[in-house]
Protein backbone atom coordinates (compact mmCIF):
# COMPACT_ATOMS: atom_id res chain seq x y z
CA UNK A 1 0.00 0.00 0.00
CA UNK A 2 1.24 3.47 -0.78
CA UNK A 3 1.41 5.42 2.44
CA UNK A 4 1.46 8.92 0.94
CA UNK A 5 -0.90 8.70 -2.00
CA UNK A 6 -2.06 12.36 -1.88
CA UNK A 7 1.55 13.46 -1.89
CA UNK A 8 2.52 11.10 -4.68
CA UNK A 9 -0.42 12.27 -6.78
CA UNK A 10 0.64 15.89 -6.32
CA UNK A 11 4.23 15.09 -7.24
CA UNK A 12 3.05 13.26 -10.35
CA UNK A 13 0.73 16.13 -11.22
CA UNK A 14 3.48 18.77 -11.35
CA UNK A 15 5.57 16.54 -13.59
CA UNK A 16 2.62 15.73 -15.87
CA UNK A 17 1.68 19.40 -16.10
CA UNK A 18 5.27 20.29 -16.94
CA UNK A 19 5.13 17.84 -19.87
CA UNK A 20 1.85 19.41 -21.02
CA UNK A 21 3.51 22.82 -20.84
CA UNK A 22 6.50 21.56 -22.85
CA UNK A 23 4.22 20.26 -25.57
CA UNK A 24 2.39 23.62 -25.65
CA UNK A 25 5.75 25.38 -26.09
CA UNK A 26 6.81 22.93 -28.77
CA UNK A 27 3.60 23.64 -30.68
CA UNK A 28 4.01 27.40 -30.32
CA UNK A 29 7.53 27.22 -31.81
CA UNK A 30 6.23 25.17 -34.74
CA UNK A 31 3.26 27.47 -35.32
CA UNK A 32 5.41 30.62 -35.16
CA UNK A 33 7.74 29.35 -37.92
CA UNK A 34 4.85 28.11 -40.08
CA UNK A 35 3.04 31.44 -39.73
CA UNK A 36 6.23 33.31 -40.63
CA UNK A 37 6.85 31.10 -43.63
CA UNK A 38 3.22 31.28 -44.85
CA UNK A 39 2.93 35.00 -44.06
CA UNK A 40 -0.20 34.21 -42.05
CA UNK A 41 -0.64 37.32 -39.89
CA UNK A 42 -3.89 36.13 -38.27
CA UNK A 43 -2.13 33.01 -37.07
CA UNK A 44 0.76 35.15 -35.75
CA UNK A 45 -1.76 37.22 -33.76
CA UNK A 46 -3.28 34.03 -32.32
CA UNK A 47 0.19 32.80 -31.31
CA UNK A 48 0.81 36.06 -29.42
CA UNK A 49 -2.53 35.65 -27.62
CA UNK A 50 -1.92 31.96 -26.85
CA UNK A 51 1.30 32.77 -25.02
CA UNK A 52 -0.92 33.78 -22.10
CA UNK A 53 -1.95 30.14 -21.70
CA UNK A 54 1.69 29.14 -21.32
CA UNK A 55 2.22 31.85 -18.72
CA UNK A 56 -0.86 30.62 -16.87
CA UNK A 57 0.14 26.97 -16.73
CA UNK A 58 3.59 28.02 -15.53
CA UNK A 59 2.07 29.88 -12.56
CA UNK A 60 -0.33 26.99 -11.85
CA UNK A 61 2.58 24.53 -11.67
CA UNK A 62 4.62 26.94 -9.56
CA UNK A 63 1.76 27.32 -7.09
CA UNK A 64 1.38 23.58 -6.80
CA UNK A 65 5.14 23.21 -6.18
CA UNK A 66 4.98 25.80 -3.40
CA UNK A 67 1.97 24.06 -1.92
CA UNK A 68 3.78 20.70 -1.87
CA UNK A 69 6.87 22.25 -0.27
CA UNK A 70 4.75 23.99 2.38
CA UNK A 71 2.51 21.06 3.22
CA UNK A 72 4.51 17.90 2.54
CA UNK A 73 8.12 18.82 3.36
CA UNK A 74 9.59 16.87 0.43
CA UNK A 75 13.03 15.34 0.84
CA UNK A 76 15.75 13.67 -1.21
CA UNK A 77 14.84 12.89 -4.85
CA UNK A 78 11.33 14.32 -4.38
CA UNK A 79 12.83 17.66 -3.35
CA UNK A 80 15.18 17.56 -6.31
CA UNK A 81 12.27 16.81 -8.66
CA UNK A 82 10.34 19.84 -7.39
CA UNK A 83 13.36 22.14 -7.65
CA UNK A 84 14.03 20.79 -11.16
CA UNK A 85 10.41 21.37 -12.22
CA UNK A 86 10.44 24.92 -10.81
CA UNK A 87 13.51 25.73 -12.89
CA UNK A 88 12.39 23.91 -16.01
CA UNK A 89 9.01 25.70 -16.16
CA UNK A 90 10.86 29.02 -16.01
CA UNK A 91 12.93 28.00 -19.03
CA UNK A 92 9.84 26.69 -20.84
CA UNK A 93 7.99 29.93 -20.19
CA UNK A 94 10.86 31.92 -21.68
CA UNK A 95 10.95 29.57 -24.66
CA UNK A 96 7.27 30.36 -25.13
CA UNK A 97 8.20 34.05 -25.07
CA UNK A 98 10.75 33.43 -27.84
CA UNK A 99 8.05 31.75 -29.97
CA UNK A 100 5.79 34.71 -29.27
CA UNK A 101 8.72 36.96 -30.25
CA UNK A 102 8.95 35.22 -33.63
CA UNK A 103 5.19 35.78 -34.15
CA UNK A 104 5.65 39.47 -33.30
CA UNK A 105 8.51 39.77 -35.82
CA UNK A 106 6.22 38.22 -38.43
CA UNK A 107 3.64 40.93 -37.61
CA UNK A 108 6.34 43.62 -37.92
CA UNK A 109 7.29 42.31 -41.37
CA UNK A 110 3.59 42.73 -42.16
CA UNK A 111 2.61 42.59 -45.81
CA UNK A 112 6.16 42.72 -47.13
CA UNK A 113 7.50 39.53 -48.68
CA UNK A 114 10.30 37.70 -46.89
CA UNK A 115 13.79 38.70 -47.97
CA UNK A 116 14.52 35.12 -48.99
CA UNK A 117 12.91 31.70 -48.76
CA UNK A 118 13.39 30.19 -45.28
CA UNK A 119 15.76 27.22 -45.31
CA UNK A 120 18.09 27.20 -42.32
CA UNK A 121 15.63 28.96 -40.01
CA UNK A 122 13.12 26.05 -40.13
CA UNK A 123 16.08 23.67 -39.70
CA UNK A 124 17.03 25.52 -36.52
CA UNK A 125 13.43 25.28 -35.30
CA UNK A 126 13.21 21.56 -36.12
CA UNK A 127 16.48 20.85 -34.32
CA UNK A 128 15.51 22.87 -31.23
CA UNK A 129 12.08 21.17 -31.09
CA UNK A 130 13.65 17.74 -31.49
CA UNK A 131 16.04 18.54 -28.64
CA UNK A 132 13.16 19.73 -26.46
CA UNK A 133 11.07 16.60 -27.08
CA UNK A 134 13.98 14.25 -26.33
CA UNK A 135 14.85 16.30 -23.25
CA UNK A 136 11.35 15.69 -21.90
CA UNK A 137 11.80 11.95 -22.57
CA UNK A 138 15.09 12.11 -20.63
CA UNK A 139 13.22 13.79 -17.75
CA UNK A 140 10.59 11.06 -17.66
CA UNK A 141 13.23 8.34 -17.91
CA UNK A 142 15.51 10.09 -15.39
CA UNK A 143 18.28 9.66 -17.97
CA UNK A 144 21.18 11.98 -17.14
CA UNK A 145 23.41 10.59 -19.89
CA UNK A 146 20.81 11.33 -22.56
CA UNK A 147 20.43 14.86 -21.15
CA UNK A 148 24.19 15.40 -21.44
CA UNK A 149 24.20 14.21 -25.06
CA UNK A 150 21.27 16.48 -25.99
CA UNK A 151 23.03 19.49 -24.44
CA UNK A 152 25.99 18.85 -26.76
CA UNK A 153 23.66 19.17 -29.76
CA UNK A 154 23.20 22.87 -29.03
CA UNK A 155 26.40 23.29 -31.09
CA UNK A 156 24.44 22.24 -34.19
CA UNK A 157 21.90 25.02 -33.62
CA UNK A 158 24.73 27.49 -33.04
CA UNK A 159 26.33 26.38 -36.35
CA UNK A 160 23.05 26.95 -38.21
CA UNK A 161 22.78 30.37 -36.57
CA UNK A 162 26.30 31.21 -37.81
CA UNK A 163 25.27 30.18 -41.28
CA UNK A 164 22.08 32.28 -41.22
CA UNK A 165 24.02 35.24 -39.86
CA UNK A 166 26.69 35.07 -42.59
CA UNK A 167 24.08 34.72 -45.30
CA UNK A 168 22.00 37.65 -44.06
CA UNK A 169 25.13 39.76 -43.69
CA UNK A 170 25.88 39.12 -47.35
CA UNK A 171 22.39 40.32 -48.28
CA UNK A 172 22.85 43.48 -46.21
CA UNK A 173 26.28 44.27 -47.66
CA UNK A 174 25.19 43.72 -51.23
CA UNK A 175 22.09 45.89 -50.94
CA UNK A 176 21.59 48.27 -47.98
CA UNK A 177 17.85 48.47 -48.66
CA UNK A 178 17.73 44.81 -47.52
CA UNK A 179 18.97 45.71 -44.04
CA UNK A 180 15.58 46.03 -42.33
CA UNK A 181 14.16 42.80 -43.69
CA UNK A 182 17.45 40.94 -43.08
CA UNK A 183 17.50 42.17 -39.50
CA UNK A 184 13.99 40.77 -38.93
CA UNK A 185 15.13 37.32 -40.02
CA UNK A 186 18.25 37.62 -37.90
CA UNK A 187 16.03 38.29 -34.89
CA UNK A 188 14.01 35.18 -35.70
CA UNK A 189 17.20 33.09 -35.85
CA UNK A 190 18.38 34.63 -32.59
CA UNK A 191 15.12 33.62 -30.87
CA UNK A 192 15.61 30.05 -32.06
CA UNK A 193 19.21 30.04 -30.90
CA UNK A 194 18.07 31.12 -27.44
CA UNK A 195 15.39 28.42 -27.38
CA UNK A 196 18.07 25.77 -27.90
CA UNK A 197 20.18 27.35 -25.13
CA UNK A 198 17.25 26.97 -22.78
CA UNK A 199 16.94 23.31 -23.69
CA UNK A 200 20.54 23.02 -22.48
CA UNK A 201 19.49 24.62 -19.18
CA UNK A 202 16.75 22.00 -18.85
CA UNK A 203 19.33 19.26 -19.51
CA UNK A 204 21.37 20.63 -16.58
CA UNK A 205 18.31 20.32 -14.36
CA UNK A 206 17.79 16.72 -15.39
CA UNK A 207 21.39 15.89 -14.47
CA UNK A 208 20.76 17.57 -11.09
CA UNK A 209 17.52 15.64 -10.64
CA UNK A 210 19.22 12.30 -11.29
CA UNK A 211 22.63 12.84 -9.67
CA UNK A 212 22.07 15.64 -7.15
CA UNK A 213 24.96 17.54 -8.74
CA UNK A 214 24.74 21.01 -10.32
CA UNK A 215 26.82 21.09 -13.45
CA UNK A 216 26.98 23.68 -16.21
CA UNK A 217 26.91 22.07 -19.62
CA UNK A 218 27.92 23.22 -23.07
CA UNK A 219 27.95 26.97 -22.56
CA UNK A 220 26.69 28.56 -25.77
CA UNK A 221 29.10 30.86 -27.55
CA UNK A 222 26.29 33.41 -27.93
Amino acid sequence: MRIRSTYENELQQIQDQMLVMASMVDRQIDRSIQALKNRDLDESRRIVADDLQINKIRFDIEELCIQIIATQQPMASDLRAIVAVLNIITDLERMGDHAEGIAKISLMIGDEPLLKPLIDVPRMADKARDMLRRTMDAFVERDAEAAKRIAEEDDQVDALYDQVYRELLTFMLSEPSNITRATYLLWVAHNLERIADRVTNICERIVFLVTGRMQEMNVSKY
Binding site: I3, M75, A76
Partner: protein, 278 residues
Protein backbone atom coordinates in the same frame (compact mmCIF):
# COMPACT_ATOMS: atom_id res chain seq x y z
CA UNK B 1 42.85 21.49 32.33
CA UNK B 2 41.24 22.88 29.22
CA UNK B 3 40.76 20.79 26.13
CA UNK B 4 43.36 22.78 24.20
CA UNK B 5 45.96 22.29 26.94
CA UNK B 6 45.32 18.57 26.85
CA UNK B 7 45.84 18.50 23.10
CA UNK B 8 48.98 20.64 23.05
CA UNK B 9 51.66 18.07 24.03
CA UNK B 10 50.60 15.74 21.25
CA UNK B 11 50.79 18.30 18.43
CA UNK B 12 54.27 17.28 17.34
CA UNK B 13 53.26 13.62 17.21
CA UNK B 14 49.97 14.09 15.38
CA UNK B 15 50.77 16.98 13.04
CA UNK B 16 49.85 20.65 13.17
CA UNK B 17 46.13 20.11 12.53
CA UNK B 18 45.81 18.35 15.88
CA UNK B 19 46.15 21.72 17.61
CA UNK B 20 42.81 22.68 16.15
CA UNK B 21 41.07 19.55 17.39
CA UNK B 22 38.51 20.12 20.11
CA UNK B 23 37.77 17.76 22.96
CA UNK B 24 34.56 15.79 22.90
CA UNK B 25 35.10 13.60 19.86
CA UNK B 26 33.03 10.44 20.25
CA UNK B 27 33.85 7.44 18.14
CA UNK B 28 32.00 4.16 18.18
CA UNK B 29 33.65 1.02 16.87
CA UNK B 30 31.39 -1.92 16.01
CA UNK B 31 29.07 -1.00 18.84
CA UNK B 32 26.32 -3.53 19.53
CA UNK B 33 23.70 -3.60 22.27
CA UNK B 34 21.34 -6.17 23.74
CA UNK B 35 18.35 -6.36 26.03
CA UNK B 36 18.85 -9.80 27.54
CA UNK B 37 19.00 -12.21 24.56
CA UNK B 38 17.53 -9.75 22.11
CA UNK B 39 20.00 -7.73 20.11
CA UNK B 40 18.83 -4.14 19.51
CA UNK B 41 21.84 -2.55 17.76
CA UNK B 42 24.53 -4.13 15.58
CA UNK B 43 28.02 -2.97 14.64
CA UNK B 44 27.55 0.79 14.71
CA UNK B 45 30.78 2.53 13.69
CA UNK B 46 30.73 6.29 13.36
CA UNK B 47 32.42 9.43 14.64
CA UNK B 48 30.49 12.24 16.32
CA UNK B 49 32.41 15.45 15.79
CA UNK B 50 33.01 18.17 18.38
CA UNK B 51 31.30 21.53 17.83
CA UNK B 52 28.78 19.95 15.53
CA UNK B 53 25.24 18.69 15.96
CA UNK B 54 24.82 15.09 14.89
CA UNK B 55 21.29 13.77 14.45
CA UNK B 56 20.36 10.11 14.69
CA UNK B 57 17.17 9.41 12.78
CA UNK B 58 15.19 6.34 11.88
CA UNK B 59 11.78 4.74 12.35
CA UNK B 60 10.48 3.61 15.74
CA UNK B 61 12.26 0.54 17.02
CA UNK B 62 15.40 1.02 14.92
CA UNK B 63 17.59 1.24 18.02
CA UNK B 64 18.48 4.93 17.84
CA UNK B 65 17.69 5.62 21.52
CA UNK B 66 19.50 2.46 22.57
CA UNK B 67 22.52 3.54 20.52
CA UNK B 68 22.69 6.99 22.06
CA UNK B 69 22.22 5.56 25.57
CA UNK B 70 25.30 3.42 24.99
CA UNK B 71 27.33 6.57 24.41
CA UNK B 72 27.30 7.52 28.11
CA UNK B 73 26.78 4.07 29.62
CA UNK B 74 23.12 4.74 30.39
CA UNK B 75 22.11 1.57 28.53
CA UNK B 76 23.71 -0.69 31.14
CA UNK B 77 21.38 0.76 33.79
CA UNK B 78 18.57 -1.33 32.25
CA UNK B 79 18.53 -4.81 33.86
CA UNK B 80 19.91 -7.48 31.52
CA UNK B 81 21.33 -4.93 29.11
CA UNK B 82 24.60 -5.70 27.34
CA UNK B 83 27.07 -3.84 25.17
CA UNK B 84 29.89 -4.94 22.85
CA UNK B 85 32.34 -2.95 20.78
CA UNK B 86 33.93 0.32 21.74
CA UNK B 87 32.92 3.88 22.54
CA UNK B 88 35.93 6.19 22.49
CA UNK B 89 35.82 9.68 23.95
CA UNK B 90 38.85 11.51 22.62
CA UNK B 91 40.45 8.13 22.07
CA UNK B 92 39.72 6.75 25.55
CA UNK B 93 37.41 3.73 25.78
CA UNK B 94 34.60 4.64 28.19
CA UNK B 95 33.88 0.92 28.72
CA UNK B 96 37.47 0.10 29.68
CA UNK B 97 37.92 -1.62 33.06
CA UNK B 98 38.26 0.86 35.89
CA UNK B 99 36.37 3.65 34.17
CA UNK B 100 33.71 5.04 36.52
CA UNK B 101 30.32 5.15 34.74
CA UNK B 102 29.22 8.09 36.91
CA UNK B 103 32.18 10.11 35.74
CA UNK B 104 31.38 9.12 32.12
CA UNK B 105 27.81 10.37 32.52
CA UNK B 106 29.06 13.66 33.91
CA UNK B 107 31.38 14.20 30.94
CA UNK B 108 28.74 12.99 28.49
CA UNK B 109 25.48 14.49 29.68
CA UNK B 110 22.02 13.43 28.62
CA UNK B 111 18.63 15.08 28.27
CA UNK B 112 15.51 12.96 27.89
CA UNK B 113 12.19 13.20 26.09
CA UNK B 114 10.24 14.17 29.21
CA UNK B 115 11.90 16.85 31.32
CA UNK B 116 12.94 15.33 34.64
CA UNK B 117 12.34 18.13 37.12
CA UNK B 118 12.59 17.32 40.83
CA UNK B 119 9.26 18.48 42.23
CA UNK B 120 10.41 19.36 45.71
CA UNK B 121 13.32 21.44 44.49
CA UNK B 122 13.55 25.06 43.45
CA UNK B 123 14.72 26.11 40.01
CA UNK B 124 18.13 26.86 41.51
CA UNK B 125 18.39 23.49 43.24
CA UNK B 126 17.29 21.64 40.12
CA UNK B 127 20.33 23.00 38.33
CA UNK B 128 22.69 22.71 41.29
CA UNK B 129 21.80 19.11 42.20
CA UNK B 130 24.43 17.53 39.97
CA UNK B 131 27.13 19.74 41.39
CA UNK B 132 26.09 19.04 44.97
CA UNK B 133 25.83 15.27 44.55
CA UNK B 134 29.22 15.09 42.87
CA UNK B 135 30.78 17.59 45.29
CA UNK B 136 31.94 19.58 42.29
CA UNK B 137 31.52 23.12 43.55
CA UNK B 138 31.84 24.98 46.80
CA UNK B 139 28.70 26.61 48.21
CA UNK B 140 30.26 29.96 47.33
CA UNK B 141 30.67 29.17 43.64
CA UNK B 142 27.27 27.53 43.18
CA UNK B 143 25.30 30.70 42.28
CA UNK B 144 27.84 31.63 39.65
CA UNK B 145 27.76 28.18 38.00
CA UNK B 146 23.95 27.98 38.15
CA UNK B 147 23.65 31.38 36.50
CA UNK B 148 26.14 30.46 33.78
CA UNK B 149 24.37 27.14 33.11
CA UNK B 150 20.94 28.76 32.94
CA UNK B 151 22.33 31.43 30.62
CA UNK B 152 23.85 28.79 28.33
CA UNK B 153 20.49 27.01 28.31
CA UNK B 154 18.85 30.32 27.30
CA UNK B 155 16.67 30.27 30.41
CA UNK B 156 18.37 32.79 32.74
CA UNK B 157 16.41 35.85 31.65
CA UNK B 158 13.12 34.05 32.22
CA UNK B 159 13.91 32.68 35.68
CA UNK B 160 16.46 35.02 37.25
CA UNK B 161 13.82 36.65 39.46
CA UNK B 162 12.25 33.41 40.64
CA UNK B 163 15.12 31.03 41.31
CA UNK B 164 13.57 29.90 44.58
CA UNK B 165 10.27 28.89 43.01
CA UNK B 166 9.63 25.19 42.27
CA UNK B 167 11.01 23.93 38.99
CA UNK B 168 7.65 22.34 38.25
CA UNK B 169 6.10 25.82 37.97
CA UNK B 170 7.86 26.28 34.65
CA UNK B 171 6.30 25.47 31.27
CA UNK B 172 7.24 22.26 29.45
CA UNK B 173 9.73 24.03 27.19
CA UNK B 174 11.29 25.87 30.13
CA UNK B 175 11.52 22.62 32.10
CA UNK B 176 13.38 21.02 29.22
CA UNK B 177 15.83 23.93 29.12
CA UNK B 178 16.16 23.60 32.91
CA UNK B 179 17.24 19.99 32.36
CA UNK B 180 19.74 21.15 29.74
CA UNK B 181 21.07 23.70 32.27
CA UNK B 182 21.45 20.90 34.85
CA UNK B 183 23.40 18.80 32.35
CA UNK B 184 25.63 21.79 31.50
CA UNK B 185 26.28 22.68 35.16
CA UNK B 186 28.66 19.76 35.63
CA UNK B 187 30.71 20.97 32.63
CA UNK B 188 30.32 18.07 30.23
CA UNK B 189 32.11 17.78 26.89
CA UNK B 190 29.29 16.05 25.12
CA UNK B 191 25.53 16.59 25.32
CA UNK B 192 23.21 13.78 24.22
CA UNK B 193 19.54 14.57 23.69
CA UNK B 194 16.96 11.82 23.27
CA UNK B 195 13.87 13.27 21.55
CA UNK B 196 14.23 16.48 23.59
CA UNK B 197 11.39 18.32 21.87
CA UNK B 198 8.86 15.61 21.10
CA UNK B 199 6.70 16.56 24.10
CA UNK B 200 6.90 20.31 23.39
CA UNK B 201 4.75 22.68 21.35
CA UNK B 202 6.18 24.13 18.11
CA UNK B 203 7.31 27.39 19.71
CA UNK B 204 9.14 25.65 22.56
CA UNK B 205 10.56 23.19 20.03
CA UNK B 206 12.06 26.01 17.96
CA UNK B 207 13.65 27.52 21.08
CA UNK B 208 15.34 24.21 21.87
CA UNK B 209 16.51 23.92 18.26
CA UNK B 210 17.92 27.44 18.36
CA UNK B 211 19.62 26.62 21.64
CA UNK B 212 21.37 23.62 20.08
CA UNK B 213 23.01 25.96 17.56
CA UNK B 214 24.50 27.95 20.44
CA UNK B 215 25.48 24.88 22.43
CA UNK B 216 27.46 23.35 19.61
CA UNK B 217 29.93 26.21 19.84
CA UNK B 218 31.06 24.74 23.18
CA UNK B 219 30.01 21.12 23.13
CA UNK B 220 29.64 18.01 21.02
CA UNK B 221 25.90 17.60 20.51
CA UNK B 222 24.08 14.44 19.43
CA UNK B 223 20.31 14.35 19.13
CA UNK B 224 17.94 11.45 18.56
CA UNK B 225 14.78 12.53 16.82
CA UNK B 226 11.96 10.93 14.89
CA UNK B 227 11.22 14.34 13.40
CA UNK B 228 13.09 14.45 10.09
CA UNK B 229 12.49 18.15 9.59
CA UNK B 230 14.00 18.80 12.98
CA UNK B 231 17.07 16.76 12.09
CA UNK B 232 17.34 18.68 8.81
CA UNK B 233 17.04 22.03 10.61
CA UNK B 234 19.43 21.52 13.50
CA UNK B 235 22.11 19.04 12.55
CA UNK B 236 25.38 19.20 10.64
CA UNK B 237 25.65 15.41 10.34
CA UNK B 238 22.95 12.80 10.12
CA UNK B 239 23.07 9.10 10.90
CA UNK B 240 20.20 7.04 9.54
CA UNK B 241 19.44 3.78 11.35
CA UNK B 242 17.11 1.02 10.32
CA UNK B 243 16.16 -2.37 11.75
CA UNK B 244 16.19 -5.24 9.26
CA UNK B 245 14.00 -8.34 9.20
CA UNK B 246 15.73 -9.58 12.38
CA UNK B 247 14.67 -6.32 14.13
CA UNK B 248 18.27 -5.38 14.92
CA UNK B 249 19.10 -1.73 14.24
CA UNK B 250 22.03 -0.89 11.98
CA UNK B 251 23.66 2.20 10.57
CA UNK B 252 22.49 2.58 6.98
CA UNK B 253 23.98 5.92 6.06
CA UNK B 254 26.00 8.62 7.75
CA UNK B 255 27.09 11.92 6.27
CA UNK B 256 26.62 15.65 6.08
CA UNK B 257 22.99 16.49 6.72
CA UNK B 258 22.56 18.56 3.56
CA UNK B 259 23.84 15.64 1.50
CA UNK B 260 21.81 12.98 3.30
CA UNK B 261 18.60 14.98 2.97
CA UNK B 262 18.99 16.10 -0.63
CA UNK B 263 20.95 13.28 -2.20
CA UNK B 264 21.03 10.16 -0.02
CA UNK B 265 23.28 7.37 -1.22
CA UNK B 266 21.27 4.41 0.04
CA UNK B 267 17.85 3.63 -1.38
CA UNK B 268 16.58 2.77 2.12
CA UNK B 269 17.47 6.29 3.31
CA UNK B 270 15.70 7.67 0.24
CA UNK B 271 12.67 5.50 1.02
CA UNK B 272 12.51 6.68 4.62
CA UNK B 273 13.00 10.38 3.85
CA UNK B 274 10.36 10.39 1.13
CA UNK B 275 7.97 8.33 3.25
CA UNK B 276 7.92 5.45 0.80
CA UNK B 277 8.41 2.55 3.12
CA UNK B 278 6.30 1.47 6.00
Amino acid sequence: MSALETATPTVSERGPSAALEQAGRVETVKLSAWYGDRQAVRDMSLTIQPNRVTAVIGPSGCGKSTFIRCLNRMHEVTPGAGVAGKVLLDGQDIYAPGVDPVSVRRTIGMVFQRPVVFPTMSIFENVAIGLRVNGLASRRRLPEIVERSLAQAALWDEVKDKLTEPGTALSGGQQQRLCIARALAVQPEVLLLDEPASALDPQATLRIEELLQQLKERYTVAIVTHNMQQAARVSDYTAFMLAGADRVGELIEYGETREVFTNPKDRRTEGYLTGRFG
